[in-house]
Every structure is written in structure tokens, then in C-alpha cells.
């Protein structure tokens, strides 16, 4: 099998397992959701993936679980909950929902209804209106209530939530690891295409990718991990959005990280999408590009021989044009976050649909305060130009000042001169201009409660 082919095609057309459905081919409906089990630091970890965007190479040596793999003699308790709550109508999206809920049972998420619903935030149902599915999710949360410290897969097997074979998957994966032989590495002389999570490139050109020589970056240990060294936070470019969310280092720096991440795609996509991929994809509205632009992150690039550092803000030359050679890939990124400093950080995003949607406009703001003065200001904006960008002049204007409504009004005027939004399916130019001003106001209203909202909105 070509390692670049889609997991979904492998499941449906080679393994003839038809419970996994094709809905949208772009990770936006969840009908093709499967679970991927892997060993991470010798812990068994299951995450939901949309198989329509997953290259086979990214599940090499892992446990791929389809709906057929969680069927038991009778309905399993997850399926029973969906059945009892009439949470299935036409049924086409249903296996995806069941898999996402099974993923919840196999994760270490808190056993709450809210977490169970988060697990299905990437699944679209056109029939039920979701209320019955929510009721089913609440019952599924009950199933794992008493798990305590038991490993999720072991608990699920013991409680007969999932088939008994889940209890020894960890051992089977350990054995499998030993027999892996690196057969996926392309020959040295072939120009390989780099693939991280695949969530963008497999939307754009799945057919082409099947034929390509690919260097898979997703599971490379040196490209993973989040650590802190002094004032510097260092990330591997292959960390996923979920890795970010679960990182104690990141949670420590950004107490509001969960709220922000809830606005970014969906659970399975967050499980797959890498930060490095988000940068390289160069979408003008990449949520984490905006986030890290406001942190003034620095990239370490390598072409295999030479490495160099490049500030993220210098990566973009023009629409989807990067300041790097095709051979170069990100080996590391880092940002400064002195623990002693007073940091203010916010992320804002508005899209047509609040969740699981691409931003009309997004923005992140990082201010380092010194004695109530904005000593350092970084303002990143997306959706208002051909590249994800920083509003340097606006930031420079604010820097070193005391905040007031009048100052902010002036800053907003400067911001309008720095952007060049176009009208497209995500909004008209006029809307994007107004929206950016509103979101910058939202940043400041939240960060500086002393600001008069009425004055700011000209009420």
C-alpha cells in the first residue's frame, strides 16, 4: 500500500469495512471517524481521527479502531445509549458519533457530559438536531464515572464498555513496535514531500499525495514535546493542537487556553493538526499562526544540513509564499515568556459558525505590562490580508502608552490602514474591517475592565 494513501480508502475499499462512512472528504463532518491507539511514552493513548485526511503513514504501527472493532455480541453500552435515546435517524453519521464517544471513553477526559460532547464536536448530524445525541452523550459520561486511576482502555474492557481485547492492546503495540523496520522512509535521493498531520494537504490534493514520496513528520520524537527552559518555551513542530491543550507548560502560560482552543476546529482535527503544519500551510487565517505571531515565536528551520532561525513574522512573503526553501522544514519553535513579567494575552475569533469553522477574522494580542504601561505590544490578525500578519504600526503606536478609550480609537484607525481584506465566502471587506475593530475592542474590554464599554462602542 502506498503510505500516502488515505486511511479511509484503505478501510472501506481494501478491508471492506463499510461502517466507516464518507461524508465530506475534508474532515468537516466526522462520518469517517476512527480511533488511533498508539504508545506515547509507553502509555497507551487513543485519539479520534478523521480517516478522510489521514495518510496510512501516520498510523503505521498503531491500533486503528473502526466501528466494527468495537462491536460486541449485543450493543455495547455506548451504542445502547444512542439506541435508547433515539439518537440515530438516517444513521449515516451514526458510526462516527459512536466512535467519537468511544474515543471519549478511551481518553483521560473528565467523565462529564460536557467532555463527552466535546468528543463529538467534529461530528455533523443533519437529521436529529443533536438533542437526542446530547442525551446519549450524558449517559456515556456516566459509563466512565467510576474509572478512578484505572487506565481507560483497561477500564473500558473490564466494564464491557468495549470488547475485551482492548485490555491487552498495550502489550500488542509494544510487540509491534519492535518489528517496525523503517520501511516508510523514502530513499535518500528522492525529493520527499513533508507531511505533518495531513489536515490541510489532504483536503487540497489527496489523489496526488497517494503517489508521492513522503517523509512523515507526525510521529518523529525529536519533532514532538513541549518544554520550558528558563524564560523560553520550546515546542516541537509536530505537536498537535491537542498536545498544546494538554500541556502543563502551555496551561501555565495561558490559563484561558481551553476557551481559545474550543474555537479551533474539532476534536479529531485538533488530534491530527500540527502547529508546524499550521504555519507552513500559510493560510491567512491559521488560528495557531495568529496565536504564535502574537507571541513573536521563532522557528528553527533545517534542510538536513544547515539550520537557521527565522522569526515566524518573517515566514510569509505573500499569499501562500514562504520565506524558506522546499527542502527546509521546521525542527523547533520557541517563544519567550519570562515568568516574572506581567503578561496579558488573548485570542479572538469569529466565524460564520462559532465552532468547527474557519475564521472570518481572528486575532491574538500579547501585551507585556510594566507598571500599568503597555511596555511591549504584539497584535496578530488573520483574514484581513493575504497572509497571517502582525499590525506593527498599531502595536508600535500603543507601545509605551497608558491605555485610554481615545488612544484605542486612534489605534483602531491605524489598524484599518494596515489591513487589506477582500470579500469572499467568509465575509465582505466591509464586514471584516468592522469585525477586526470589534475584536480588538473585545481584547481590550476583557483585559482592561476599567475601560468604559459605552464609550468604546459609542453607545
Amino acid at each position: 500500500m502506498p503510505p500516502g494513501m488515505l486511511l479511509l480508502d484503505f478501510i472501506r475499499y481494501h478491508q471492506h469495512l463499510t461502517g466507516t462512512k464518507i461524508g465530506c472528504n475534508e474532515g468537516d463532518c466526522g462520518a469517517c471517524t476512527v480511533l488511533i491507539g498508539s504508545l506515547v511514552n509507553n502509555r497507551l493513548q487513543y485519539r479520534s481521527f478523521t480517516s478522510c485526511l489521514t495518510p496510512l503513514g501516520n498510523v503505521h504501527g498503531k491500533h486503528v479502531v473502526t466501528i466494527e472493532g468495537i462491536n460486541m455480541q449485543e450493543l455495547n453500552p455506548i451504542q445502547q445509549a444512542m439506541y435508547d435515546e433515539s439518537a440515530t435517524q438516517c444513521g449515516f453519521c451514526t458510526p462516527g458519533f459512536v466512535m467519537s464517544l468511544a474515543g471519549f471513553c478511551l481518553s483521560e477526559a473528565a467523565p462529564t457530559t460536557q467532555q463527552a460532547i466535546t468528543a463529538i464536536d467534529g461530528n455533523i448530524c443533519r437529521c436529529t438536531g443533536y438533542k437526542s445525541i446530547e442525551r446519549a452523550a450524558a449517559r456515556v459520561a456516566q459509563l466512565v464515572q467510576d474509572r478512578g486511576e484505572v487506565a481507560p482502555a483497561v477500564f473500558a474492557a473490564e466494564q464491557q464498555i468495549l470488547p475485551a481485547y482492548f485490555s491487552n492492546i498495550k502489550e500488542r503495540l509494544q510487540t509491534l513496535q519492535q518489528s517496525l523496520n523503517g520501511e516508510m522512509t523514502p530513499a535518500e535521493d528522492v525529493r520527499a514531500h513533508y507531511v505533518g498531520g495531513g489536515t490541510d494537504v489532504y483536503v487540497q490534493k489527496p489523489e496526488e499525495m497517494k503517489q508521492k514520496a513522503i517523509r512523515f513528520l507526525f510521529d518523529q520524537p525529536p519533532l514532538n514535546g513541549i518544554t520550558r527552559q528558563g524564560s523560553r518555551v520550546i515546542l516541537g513542530p509536530a505537536v498537535t493542537v491537542t498536545d498544546l491543550q494538554e500541556s502543563p507548560v502551555m496551561q501555565d502560560c495561558f490559563p484561558q487556553l481551553d476557551e481559545c482552543i474550543k474555537l479551533v476546529s474539532s476534536t479529531p482535527i485538533r488530534n491530527m493538526a500540527t502547529i508546524g503544519g499550521n504555519f507552513i500551510n500559510a493560510s491567512p487565517i491559521g488560528d495557531f499562526t495568529i496565536f504564535f505571531l502574537a507571541l513573536d515565536a521563532t522557528l528553527v528551520l533545517s534542510d538536513g544540513e544547515h539550520t537557521r532561525e527565522l522569526p515566524l513574522r518573517q515566514l510569509y512573503k505573500g499569499y501562500k509564499q514562504l520565506n524558506k526553501t522546499p527542502e527546509e522544514y521546521i525542527t523547533q519553535l520557541w517563544f519567550e515568556w519570562p515568568e516574572t513579567a506581567q503578561h496579558l494575552f488573548r485570542f479572538e475569533k469569529v466565524s460564520k459558525r462559532t465552532h468547527l469553522d474557519i475564521a472570518s477574522v481572528n486575532t491574538a494580542l500579547h501585551i507585556r505590562m510594566e507598571q500599568e504601561v503597555m511596555a511591549e505590544v504584539h497584535l496578530a490578525v488573520g483574514g484581513v490580508g493575504p497572509v497571517p500578519m502582525r499590525l506593527e504600526r498599531t502595536a508600535a503606536f500603543l507601545q509605551g502608552r497608558w491605555l485610554s478609550v481615545a488612544l484605542l480609537q486612534e489605534a483602531l484607525n491605524i489598524a484599518q490602514t494596515e489591513i487589506t481584506p477582500i470579500s469572499d465566502a467568509r465575509g465582505t471587506e466591509a464586514y471584516k474591517r468592522l469585525l477586526l475593530s470589534q475584536l480588538i475592542k473585545a481584547h481590550f474590554i476583557s483585559l482592561f475592565p476599567q475601560l468604559s464599554v459605552a464609550d468604546l462602542l459609542n453607545l
Binding site: R12, N25, K352
Partner: protein, 769 residues
């Protein structure tokens, strides 16, 4: 009783079109759609495509063995473009290859030279140029022109509703397997087996008795697979007929979205007149329906717009005119509600505008004009009204006074967030408005082991029709549900079916099933009466046993069947049901087209984030007229699902064509339907049980379409919340109310003449403008 498919659904074991095991040698098709909306085809070059690996053959209009025509109501829709293209995505060629990938790769190599012709996307422009699908129709009641004199207030305005993509999660598709003697077995993801059979018959040139269209279930339909499934089945059938090989085509999502029609966008003008008591005295409305490039079902959709133009209200003087306008968009088609929602939005907009002008709550006008039993609809039928019952129960049960008070308190205390509410009464007629379609057949076999097989023309697409049919058969025979099996729908078992549509599928096919089962049961009762030597009227069947005068006998179901079989009594029946009482005179535009009406009232509450222009739909509280629901679990699911789909249409679902007629919202990344967080936080449903007899199966009223229209209330609730923030906000009656429209309206200033400005900002999108 749960949906009979739920068990296999949750296990991933239910079979949809793309899951059917392939016959050896199956080939795969992919259509090449026109890249130009309107133009003369100078050249279609498939040479390079034909040389691609795996390509078997490329079909065009020249290969059609029958007639190049698949139009249903009107023969105006070629299967393949010939000479001219009429919309982007119109099939020009059909590639057949040894794999799906090969077929799709070859499509990309097809080249055309098309001289562009003027593209019309605006129905008003089409109407002005006389581009009409059918002559306009007008429904009248009373005398509008005289009635304006009696009005204290006359308000005019315009309302525009955008289209809606069906977004069934299973895309369209067909799989055709040739049999001996040129017979074709056609698996199709269609709501209309006979429509597919007719379209294939006409285009391939084979009689209908050689075409077995079979459907087990659909992964969603919502009207999108009523007539629009025909194309794919006809393409595969044509190729299979030529090649004598099985041919399958399961559409890629982006092809599906680009090539198929959607809910009709409408542009409408209204004029409403009220007296000093807020009674609506007169209503005049003109609808410009954007039909797209061919008729499809547009004339019927337009007709239902007229039927529902006064929603749940009695208006003594009405003049409603509708134009079905030919544009260069893919032919728009059926979508849950079928033109009704478009009509209802306009009357609700008219009431909202009147309320704003008169400075009274819209609910006061709504309440004052609800239908009473005996009131006449503009089409002549008299109402058997539950409108007041639903409305009053909703006000009491959900305490609307408290809701209003809480919203007022919240809005007074909050600057950045505002709440709004709206009441949405609904009255929806049940029956196909084309009277002849209100017929159905069922074929019931009782086997000697006691099991029962039922075939009907119904298509299961999640609405639970098969479950209801099982309930009917099980009830008549006194059997547990697992003794009854619904067979896949097949045109060889049941002929001349009406599509599963108009909310009427359970009524029509359920009644036919009831008749067939009752006929068999009658014969069995005679056998039992003779064997037990009692009067036939004393016999009943319960719990797989023969009862006499309500008491069990030692004759069980199986023993009875064997006795009947031994006596050579028929254990099979084919029954035919035609809805009684209904009729309509198209010349007078009067009659009694509906078997009955479904009523309901919804209360919708929303919160708008006035800083960002985003919003949440907080609660939807409904009192719904179920008649006597035969399956509350299924019916509740239909209500919840319908509401969320309706809210989607009103809020985030934005079909965007550019001025060249190209679909810009062509994927799930650019066309957003509600996700789990977008659903209302709470949906409460109170059953209005009504005791009057009706023509529904077991008095359980149809439930498929009516709840969608509760969603219309979301638009008006948002409007009310926005007005709480900016009482001078300019909010044109344009759907959907996207966060963009909300934000622009919240900060609009009447001094700037923003009505025009706002409309201009969206005009470049050609969202039906």
C-alpha cells in the same frame, strides 16, 4: 418503539449505496460538469481524457439511446448538455473507468470551448425578461383592491430568503447492474424510485418493466433526492446499457454540492393592511422564485408557497402571485417544507414590519389573526384549526409573560449582550398538492412460519417511516414487531410510486399497508371463526394468538396460518390507497387539496453578542399538534431535527453563487450547517393531543416538514435582540441572519442610508440578487 434500523445504525451495519458489495467487473463513473453557467458549446474535447489509464469510455449526449431528457414535471432538462449549457455543473460528459480515482482523474483532462452567454442569477431579472418556467399563478380571496380602503394601516416591504443546501450526509449516487435480456437492476439513493425508473426509461429507451429500482435506505434526503437522484441513475444506466457492465457513481461531496439544486431562493414584495384592532384586512404578495435552469419540481414548490402564504392566519382579502423564474443556477428542487417556508417567512416579515411601524409587539398581531375552525384559506379549503389551541397552550405552559419580563430585565442590565424572543405559529397542509400523487400501494405476504413481509413505495431516509409501517402491520395482526419485516423498496414489487415526500409517506403507505393487512386478517378471521365455530366478529388477534370475545384460545398464530394455507386461502395481499376527500381545481385555484393541516406554535429565545455580532439560540419551546402520535420517540426526533434544520436555514446556512453562477459555498468548509454547539441549548416539546378524527394513519399526524418552519422564529428573535441594542438598526428582511449581517446591522446608522449600503455589501456574492 425505537426506529427498526437503530440497531444496525449504531453498529455500522446498515447498508447504504456505497456499501453494497461490488459485483466483479464493476466500473466507476464520474460526471464532467460545465464550467460555464450559460454558453454555446463550441467544442468538447475528450481525447486526452480518453487516453488516461483505466478509462473505458466517455459518454456524451451523442451516446443517448433514448431521449436526452430527464425532466419530471416539464420535459425541459436534458441529461447531457447539447449545444448549450444552462448552469455550472450541468453534465457534459460521463467518464467510465476501472476505478473511481481513474474516472475522477480523467474528468480533469476534459476540455471545452464554450462561448459565454449572459448569466442571470436574479429571479427578478429573469421575470423582467420573461424567463418563466410556467405561467404565473395567483390565489385570491375576497377583494384586495377594495379592502385597502378599510385598512387603518398599510405597510409595504420586501423580503428575500436564500437557498439551502440539503447536505444529506450520504451524497447522491447510483449503482446499475445489467441483468439478462437488457434488464437493469438500479440501486439508487433516491426518494423517488418511480422518478428514477421513468428518467432511465426515457433516456436509455427501455420500458419500465425492465428497470428494477431498488432502495434499502438513504443517508438523508430532505427533498434533495426527490427528482435530483435521476441524473446519476440515468448516467450509470446509460453506461451499463452500452457496456454491459455494472457501473457505479457515488458523488464526491464537492461535485454533489456544485451539480445539484437546492432550496429555492425567493425574492418577494408584500403589502399588508390592518384595521385599528390589528386585524389583518388585506394582504398582497408577489413571489419571485429562483427556479434555476430547469423546471425540476419548481412549479409544485411555487404552488405550495401560494398555499402557505398566509401561514396560520386568517386574512379575508388576499392576492398572492408567484413567478417561477428561470435563471442559470442548477435547477432548484424540493427541500423539507417545499416552498411553504418561503411563503411563511414573507407573512412573518410583513407582520414584523407592521409591528415595528405601529410600535406593538408582533405577537399581538400574530395572536389577533390566528385561524379559527371554519375560516377559509385563500385556496378555498376551510380550516379545522388548532392554531389557537397551540398558541394558548404555549403561552400558558411556557409562561411567555415571564419570558418577556426576564428578557426585559436582562437587556436593561446588559450592554454587550441582548436577548430576543419570537413566537412562530405554523400551519402546514398535508397531502401532495397534486391530487393524483396521493396514492400508494402495499404488498403484504404472511409466510406459513408466521413471519410477515411488507413492501411499499416508501423510502426510509431516517424519518422512521418503515418503523411506523411495521407498527401498522404488527397492530393489525396482533404480532410483535420483530415478526414483521420491511423489504427494500423496489419498482418490481411496488409500481408507480409517489416519492417519499410531502410528509405524507407514512400516511399513504401506512394506510395501504393497513388495508392489505386488514384484508388478510379478515380472511384469517373467517378461517378461525369456522374452525372455532364462532361469529367472525368475535375474533381478534393479540399476542400471536386468536382471541374470541377478548379471551385467548388454544389457536396460536402459526396454527391458524397453517389451517388457512391448507384451505388454500391467500396469505398475500396487494392493496391500493387513495386519499379520500381531496381535490383541487387549478383553473379556479380553489378546492380542498389537503387531507388535514398540522398546527403548532414555537417560542424561540436568542442571545446576541453585540460586540462581535455572534449569537446563540437559547431555547425553542414548542406546542405541536401531533393528532395522536403513534411513535412519540420518532416524532420528537422529527421535531427536534426539523427545528435545527430550519434554524440553520435562517442563520448560518448561506448558499453563495458568484455573478457568473458558480457556487462558492461548495464544501462543508464554506457551507456551514448547525453543529452540536449551534443547536439550541434547550428544545422543549409539548404534545397537543387532538381527539378529532383525521385522515392520518392511526390519527397520528404527519410530522416531517412542519417543524422546520418553527426555525423561522430564530430570524425574528435575532431581529428583536438586535433592535434592543440599536432600536434604529437597519435590518432588511434578508436571510440567513449570519454573524456578518448581525454585526453590520447592529452598527448601522439610518442617517447613512444604510439600507442600500448594506444590500450593496452582499450583492457581489450574488446571493440571489
Amino acid at each position: 418503539m425505537k426506529n427498526i434500523d437503530a440497531g444496525t445504525h449504531v453498529k455500522g451495519g446498515s447498508v447504504y449505496l456505497d456499501d453494497i458489495p461490488l459485483v466483479n467487473g464493476t466500473l466507476f463513473g464520474a460526471a464532467y460538469g460545465s464550467p460555464v453557467a450559460h454558453g454555446n458549446i463550441e467544442q468538447l474535447d475528450v481525447t486526452e481524457a480518453a487516453q488516461m489509464p483505466g478509462v473505458v469510455r466517455i459518454f456524451t449526449y451523442a451516446d443517448i439511446t433514448g431521449e436526452n431528457q430527464i425532466g419530471g414535471i416539464i420535459p425541459d432538462e436534458p441529461l447531457f448538455a447539447e449545444g448549450q449549457t444552462h448552469f455550472c455543473g450541468m453534465p457534459l460528459a460521463f467518464v467510465v473507468a476501472t476505478s473511481n480515482e481513474a474516472a475522477r482523474a480523467a474528468v480533469k483532462k476534459i476540455k471545452t470551448a464554450i462561448t459565454p452567454l449572459p448569466v442571470i442569477t436574479d429571479p427578478r431579472e429573469a421575470q423582467a425578461r420573461g424567463e418563466l418556467i410556467v405561467p404565473p399563478r395567483t390565489f385570491t380571496l375576497g377583494d384586495v383592491s377594495a379592502a385597502w380602503q378599510q385598512c387603518t394601516h398599510v405597510i409595504e416591504g420586501r423580503a428575500d430568503t436564500n437557498g439551502q443546501e440539503h447536505l444529506y450526509i450520504e451524497t447522491q449516487g447510483a449503482y446499475v447492474i445489467p441483468q439478462e435480456n437488457d434488464v437493469l437492476k438500479i440501486y439508487s439513493s433516491t426518494q423517488g424510485p418511480t422518478a428514477v425508473q421513468r428518467a432511465v426509461s426515457r433516456s436509455v429507451g427501455l420500458p419500465m418493466h425492465m428497470l428494477d429500482v431498488e432502495i434499502t435506505r438513504l443517508g438523508g434526503g430532505f427533498g434533495g433526492k426527490e427528482d435530483q437522484a435521476n441524473t446519476w441513475a440515468a448516467l450509470c444506466a446509460l453506461a451499463a446499457h452500452h457496456l454491459k457492465k455494472p457501473v457505479k457513481y457515488s458523488l464526491h461531496r464537492m461535485d454533489d454540492m456544485a451539480m445539484t439544486g437546492k432550496r429555492h431562493p425567493y425574492s418577494s414584495d408584500f403589502k399588508i393592511g390592518l384595521d385599528h384592532e390589528l386585524k389583518i384586512v388585506a394582504y398582497e404578495v408577489t413571489f419571485y422564485q429562483n427556479a434555476g435552469a430547469a423546471a425540476d419540481l419548481s412549479p409544485a414548490v411555487m404552488e405550495r408557497t401560494l398555499f402557505h402564504c398566509t401561514n396560520s392566519y386568517f386574512i379575508p382579502n388576499v392576492k398572492a402571485t408567484a413567478y417561477s423564474c428561470r435563471t442559470h443556477l442548477p435547477p432548484n428542487t424540493a427541500f423539507r417544507g417545499f416552498g411553504g417556508p418561503q411563503g411563511m417567512f414573507v407573512i412573518e416579515a410583513a407582520i414584523a414590519k407592521a409591528a415595528a411601524v405601529l410600535d406593538v409587539p408582533a405577537a399581538k398581531i400574530q395572536r389577533q389573526n390566528l385561524l379559527h375552525t371554519g375560516d377559509e384559506f385563500p385556496y378555498g379549503q376551510k380550516a379545522q384549526s388548532e392554531a389557537h389551541a397551540c398558541w394558548n397552550k404555549a403561552e400558558e405552559w411556557y409562561d411567555t409573560a415571564a419570558i418577556r419580563h426576564n428578557i426585559f430585565t436582562f437587556n436593561t442590565a446588559n450592554k454587550l449582550y441582548k436577548k430576543g424572543m419570537a413566537m412562530m405559529p405554523v400551519c402546514f397542509g398535508i397531502s401532495f398538492t397534486k391530487t393524483l400523487m396521493n396514492q400508494a400501494r402495499a404488498l403484504v405476504h404472511v409466510y406459513t412460519d408466521g413471519s410477515v413481509s411488507v413492501s411499499t413505495g416508501a423510502i426510509e431516509m431516517g424519518q422512521g417511516v418503515n418503523t411506523k409501517i411495521v407498527q401498522v402491520a404488527a397492530a393489525v395482526f396482533g404480532l410483535p414487531a420483530d415478526k414483521v419485516r420491511i423489504q427494500p423498496t423496489s419498482t418490481f414489487r411496488i409500481a408507480n410510486t409517489s416519492p417519499s415526500a410531502a410528509s405524507a409517506t407514512a400516511d399513504l403507505n401506512g394506510k395501504a399497508t393497513w388495508m392489505a393487512c386488514t384484508a388478510i386478517a379478515g380472511r384469517l378471521k373467517e378461517v378461525a371463526a369456522a374452525e372455532l365455530n364462532v361469529n367472525v366478529n368475535a375474533i381478534t388477534f393479540q399476542q400471536e394468538r386468536v382471541y374470541v370475545h377478548g379471551a385467548p384460545t388454544d389457536w396460536d398464530w402459526k396454527k391458524l396460518l397453517m389451517a388457512a394455507y391448507a384451505k388454500r386461502v391467500s396469505l398475500s395481499e396487494h392493496a391500493h390507497y387513495a386519499t379520500p376527500e381531496i381535490h383541487f381545481d387549478g383553473a379556479k385555484e380553489k378546492g380542498h387539496p389537503f387531507a388535514y393541516h398540522v398546527y403548532g406554535t414555537a417560542i424561540l429565545e436568542v442571545t446576541v453578542d453585540c460586540l462581535r455580532g455572534t449569537y446563540t439560540i437559547d431555547t425553542v419551546k414548542v406546542v405541536h399538534d401531533f393528532g395522536a402520535s403513534m411513535n412519540p420517540a420518532i416524532d420528537q426526533g422529527q421535531i427536534e431535527g426539523g427545528i435545527v434544520q430550519g434554524i440553520g436555514w435562517m442563520t448560518m446556512e448561506e448558499v453563495i453563487y458568484d455573478a457568473e453562477g458558480r457556487l462558492r459555498s461548495n464544501a462543508l468548509s464554506t457551507y456551514k450547517v448547525p453543529d452540536i454547539y449551534a443547536a439550541p441549548k434547550e428544545i422543549l416539546i409539548e404534545f397537543l393531543d387532538t381527539q378529532q378524527d383525521n385522515l392520518a394513519i392511526f390519527r397520528s399526524k404527519a410530522v416531517g416538514e412542519p417543524p422546520l418552519m418553527y426555525g423561522i422564529g430564530a430570524w425574528f428573535a435575532l431581529r428583536n435582540a438586535m433592535l434592543a441594542f440599536n432600536p434604529a438598526a437597519d435590518i432588511p428582511f434578508t436571510t440567513p441572519m449570519t454573524p456578518e449581517k448581525v454585526l453590520l446591522a447592529l452598527y448601522s446608522k439610518p442617517a447613512n442610508g444604510t439600507i442600500v449600503a448594506h444590500e450593496n455589501t452582499v450583492s457581489h456574492l450574488a446571493v440571489d440578487k
